[in-house]
Symmetry: C2
Subunit: 144 residues, 2 copies
DNA sequence: GTTAAACCTATTGGAAAAGTAGGTAATTTG
DNA sequence: CAAATTACCTACTTTTCCAATAGGTTTAAC
């Protein structure tokens, strides 16, 4: 089941990459794509989602690029995946805006899926981008 | 992400159905399919998997059908889903027999996915089919 | 030998994921 | 102003996989 899509995994990797390489200015997409080995075009569509949700800001033109809007500890993994995966619900009937299942009353497994959903989101919301960063080293150019 | 497929959900529903309606003899597929509102043909392919893994036994011919091989408390949800979903791994690189990712050494998110995997399987292995059954009532025909 | 059942192989249809292509708008720099 | 650089936008293709169907074969009971 339950494969987190490449979109979600890439989004997460990129957020961590940006956190580790964050600096005063903006980071161009090209640079991130190269470091992470992701096609520029595909990455573009992922970053668009993150910008729309204000996890990043973009700036056009020379010297432009993308920048985090918060400290790395301010982003949870859950938040990032919810955006790129549309939903983290383990089954369709628990997705936001899902039609109420006509079998819900007699459904033996509904409680199970709700429990799974809680366990899942609980875990993902407990981890932040800061938790995923490599330990700081001499030579890192973080803006502290 | 992460939608448990209909195959897995059906498999689980069927196992619970069979547990609730278990009796001395065999239950024909037709009966289960009708109760659960699942196409006979599709259900067939699901039960095949469960039989191969010895969660059920099948008997052909008149009076035949399917039967549980254990007490309901002997089946964990995780076991059932692992069969029908091929894998419960949240990301491809954690699936059994997956090639070792060339980026594993520098991968910032590997630990996250492993943690998620642990949380997930921990939960699913803690719930059994017996936990999903409706409370016993007068009129139930369980074999105790 | 007829009927009822599981068992088996293959194929189709459709939807969603993954990735590509090409162009437009904003911003800096010479 | 012109050129370069960058994000932004829309649409398309390609691939993959899930869900379901179809049709036949074997086994067992009566």
């Amino acid at each position: 089941m339950a494969v987190v899509s490449t979109k979600g995994r890439y989004a997460l990797r990129v957020m961590v990459d940006m956190a580790e390489h964050r600096r005063d200015g903006y980071i161009p997409l090209k640079e991130i794509a190269q470091r992470q080995g992701i096609s520029e075009k595909y990455l573009e569509s992922i970053l668009k989602t993150l910008v729309r949700a204000r996890l990043l800001t973009g700036l056009r033109g020379k010297g432009g690029g993308y920048k985090l809007t918060r400290e790395p500890s301010g982003y949870t993994v859950g938040e990032i995946l919810r955006l790129t995966e549309d939903s983290l619900a383990p089954v369709a009937c628990l997705e936001e805006g899902a039609a109420v299942c006509p079998r819900a009353g007699e459904c033996r497994t509904l409680k199970l899926w709700k429990g799974l959903n809680d366990v899942l989101t609980g875990y993902l919301n407990s981890v932040t981008v800061a938790d995923l960063m490599a330990p700081a080293q001499a030579g890192d150019n973080y803006v502290i």
